[in-house]
């Protein structure tokens, strides 16, 4: 099957590139071997939360210029970041997603699932962050946990809010629907709860919340377990302000971002090869001429350009062998410390060199193989080397900005 561009990986990076290219009229296909790290996204995107010295970034422009030259942002060039960041946000909005951010193009504070204030670039509207907290009618909140739900920490969140100067109480709510779900306690997950809090289940939930004697001036802080299409009904029955806080594990905000991007791509005519693992590639003179997948028997997927967005270790875009770090599918070069002993430092909370490993690329994100750049194969997102996205809190930014940079250069060359 023939396409203009084939994207390997349906995470934030792959979907961003695919949508951008499809919007320009290109025929794209996304191949994806399983669900991506987006499902764990808390609804907040990081662009650069912490600088090289691991201090919270206050002046983002300055922090960007201080990054080492092999960092993906340095390859884009610090000057190019703001416009790409705006482009990324606009793309998400075209997917029907609404975000909060800070007005001065800097980070804002959001609350993590463990109740810690962390810097973020964009936060999904409706989730608790600096800007939504400022919208609360009074400086008073009530964090409500669900009985038996272990992926949400009301006390931690309340403690952080109190520290930030809010009055805050903690409550627990239970409903017959939640009781029934608890029959299988390991299945008390945000997504399963969401499916029981629909229709009458949601109305019963609102009724139970009303019985809790929560002070009338408090804004409710609930775990994100309610489908956004149900919010109107919920509002009608609850009749008081509320915000959501993220949960651990597979999260509803993450799924809603994933679904919105998939719908947008489908609308634009992009094709998705769900559940296909790319397992081989043919090269000719530094060009990729086609890829195979584990599902297509003898068929090959062929395109003018290819984008490799297979993610990091979690998604198997990278793999750790006993003595090396490899890219297991396309045979690409990997930047990583040679010796296993150099992967780690003894300080558990310190920077771990292994986290910066990834596919080697040239300045235009063309992937390298045997030291040479493949002319029609780009790597984007967390499969790239040079960023320690967990420590820097830069995962979403690196994914989207590198994807847009590559998509833009493919569009320009056509």
């Amino acid at each position: 099957m023939r396409f203009d561009t084939i994207i390997i990986g349906a995470g934030l990076a792959g979907m961003t590139a695919a949508i951008r290219l499809a919007e320009s009229g290109a025929k794209v296909a996304v191949v994806s071997a399983g669900r991506s790290a987006l499902l764990f996204n808390t609804g907040s995107f990081g662009l650069l939360g912490f600088d090289t010295a691991h201090n919270k970034v206050n002046d983002r422009a300055k922090a960007l210029t201080e990054l080492p030259e092999d960092h993906p942002y340095s390859k884009i060039g610090a000057g190019g970041i703001p416009s790409l960041a705006d482009e990324a946000r606009a793309l998400l909005e075209r997917c029907g997603l609404a975000f909060r951010c800070s007005s001065n193009w800097n980070n804002h504070d959001r609350i993590s699932p463990l109740g810690i204030f962390r810097p973020a670039w964009l936060t999904l509207d409706g989730l608790i962050c600096e800007s939504t907290l400022a919208d609360m009618p009074y400086r008073r909140a009530a964090v409500v946990g669900l009985a038996g739900f272990l992926d949400f920490y009301p006390r931690f969140i309340a403690a952080s809010l109190r520290k930030a100067g809010y009055e805050c109480d903690v409550f627990t709510v239970d409903t017959p629907d939640l009781q029934a779900l608890r029959a299988s306690e390991t299945e008390m997950r945000a997504v399963n709860i969401e499916r029981t809090l629909h229709g009458y289940g949601l109305i019963r939930f609102a009724e139970e919340l009303k019985k809790l004697n929560i002070p009338s001036d408090a804004t409710l802080i609930l775990p994100s377990v309610i489908d956004k299409d149900e919010l109107e009904i919920f509002n009608q029955f609850l009749r008081r302000p509320f915000l959501f806080a993220p949960t651990l594990g597979v999260s509803l905000p993450g799924i809603s971002i994933h679904n919105a991007m998939v719908s947008r791509l489908k609308e634009l005519g992009g094709r998705i090869f769900n559940g296909h693992r790319v397992n081989g590639a043919d090269y000719e003179d530094n060009r990729l001429t086609g890829v195979t997948t584990d599902k297509l028997d003898d068929d090959r997927l062929v395109a003018d350009n290819y984008i490799f967005a297979a993610g990091s270790f979690f998604s198997h875009g990278l793999m750790a062998e006993p003595d090396s770090i490899v890219e297991p599918v396309l045979g690409l070069d990997v930047d990583a410390p040679q010796e296993r002993s150099a992967w780690f430092t003894p300080d558990l909370f310190g920077a771990q060199p292994v986290m910066k490993s990834g596919v080697a690329t040239d300045g235009d994100f063309k992937a390298k193989r045997d030291g040479k750049a493949i002319t029609n194969l780009y790597a984007v997102g967390s499969v790239l080397s040079g960023a320690d996205s967990v420590r820097e809190d830069s995962g979403a930014g690196v994914a989207m900005l590198t994807a847009l940079r590559v998509a833009d250069s493919i569009i320009k060359h056509n």
């Binding site: 029959a183 390991t186 769900n274 003898d298 068929d299």
Partner: protein
């Protein structure tokens, strides 16, 4: 390291990272809290069961074997296979008469076609349904598929077989029970379509049910016997010059490609890629420039495509979609990929009926919203379920392609005379 590499456990279960992605893609867990969910029933529980079979839970019977968990898993764990294998190995109760009846699709089908009008009438009468409900546990809301009075195979032998020899290229058609007993129109469409592009269709020397219903109802010995007959016939057909063995049912195709080796332990690596769906085979031939399809100009339809679970698992959905999209007058809406809830014989069982309908609910709602002229799908049980639950007609893509085909123009485009 070698030790690690050489000790790959069955169905990849040690690859599990406990990420719970599978749990959130299971259609059963949110609806039936008694079901422990894919992660718990699958890789988690398997660790314990290896030590002590007492950890087996009868509630695993609620698994639909839809394999949606496997498609979602980022680490290629064959969760559905783990659960199904555990059920086959550890379930203590013998399959009931009801389960055996539902599973014997061949025997039931043969009996029913002989007296089709009577059977259809009988199955649709409420006292009969009441007795089936009470005595056998077949839910009385269930509408049974209609049995035809002329089996596909009978039609083929009488009206099509002799004409096939004129074609140099040949494929073998695995029609499956449903086409044979209930939906011969699909089989006729397939023959018409292939003949129009100059390819002859033959039947396997012996075809038995693919075995999906027997596997689901734990009749492993019987399923294995049928599977062996099918594999022998397929090997013979390929040796005799068939280019491929094609099916029109995604589930039959999936069962022969993947459940035979993974669940029944029957090696099929030598022929697996030659067993395929007609839509995949046709797409491949079109892509290579071997054949051309020319469609009628007056064909105008709004079609909603539903992705069956096993189609999703095989990864063949893009074939059906691209073929349907190639028909100029078709406006195709691809529905969100959700399970319809029937899962073969699962939804026929009284204890599963409410779960089955609740699972299908989002799909039925979306179909109502899209309001298509009809629904397209590659699976026969999805067809029953959607027709029963939405009132919309459901067709197989092959039938649609043939309906939209300009046969004369197609024959000319493929250099066939007359």
């Amino acid at each position: 390291m070698d030790l690690q590499n050489e000790n790959i456990s069955i169905h990849n279960f040690e690859q599990c990272t406990k990420c719970t992605v599978c749990t959130v893609s299971c259609p059963v867990t949110p609806i039936n809290p008694r079901y422990p969910g894919p992660k718990q029933a699958g890789p988690d529980g398997e660790r314990y069961r290896l030590k002590n079979p007492e950890f087996f839970d009868e509630a695993f019977k609620y698994c639909l074997n839809c394999k949606r968990c496997e498609v979602a898993c980022p680490s290629d764990v064959r969760i559905g296979d783990i659960i199904l294998s555990a059920r086959l190995k550890h379930t203590k109760k013998r399959p009931s008469l009801r389960d055996t009846m539902l599973a014997e699709t061949d025997a039931m089908g043969s009996l029913a076609t002989i007296c089709a009008p009577v059977v259809n009438l009988t199955l649709s009468m409420s006292p009969v349904k009441y007795v089936m409900d009470r005595t056998f546990g077949i839910d009385n809301h269930r509408r049974f598929p209609k049995y035809t009075s002329t089996k596909f195979v009978t039609w083929f032998k009488r009206h099509a077989a002799s004409a096939q020899k004129q074609y140099t290229r040949q494929v073998s058609y695995f029609h499956g029970c449903y086409v044979n007993y209930n939906y011969p129109a699909l089989g006729r469409a397939l023959v018409g379509l292939y003949n129009a592009v100059g390819i002859g269709v033959n039947l396997l020397e012996r075809e038995r049910c693919c075995g999906v219903a027997k596997i689901a109802n734990r009749l492993v010995k019987e399923a294995t016997r049928d599977a062996e007959i099918n594999l022998t016939s397929i090997r013979k057909a390929l040796a005799d010059g068939s280019e491929a063995v094609i099916a029109t049912s995604s589930t039959c195709c999936f069962t022969m490609r993947d459940e035979y080796p993974h669940i029944l332990g029957l090696e099929n690596g030598d022929i697996r890629s030659s067993i395929t769906l007609a839509v995949a085979h046709l797409s491949r031939l079109i892509e290579r420039g071997d054949i051309k399809l020319v469609f009628r100009e007056d064909y105008r339809r709004r079609i909603a495509y539903h992705t069956p679970c096993h189609m999703e698992r095989m990864g063949f959905t893009p074939y059906s979609i691209s073929l349907l999209e190639a028909i100029p007058g078709v406006e195709l809406v691809v529905l969100d990929s959700n399970c319809c809830g029937i899962a073969g014989t699962y939804g026929f069982k009284k204890e599963n009926y409410p779960t089955s309908q609740a699972i299908g609910e989002p799909l039925f709602r979306q179909i109502a919203d899209v309001a298509p002229d009809f629904v397209a799908t590659d699976c026969e049980t999805c067809k029953w379920q959607i027709e029963m639950s939405t009132g919309h007609e459901v067709k197989n893509p092959v039938e649609i392609l043939f309906e939209a085909l300009d046969v004369e123009a197609t024959r000319r485009a493929n250099n066939l005379n007359n």
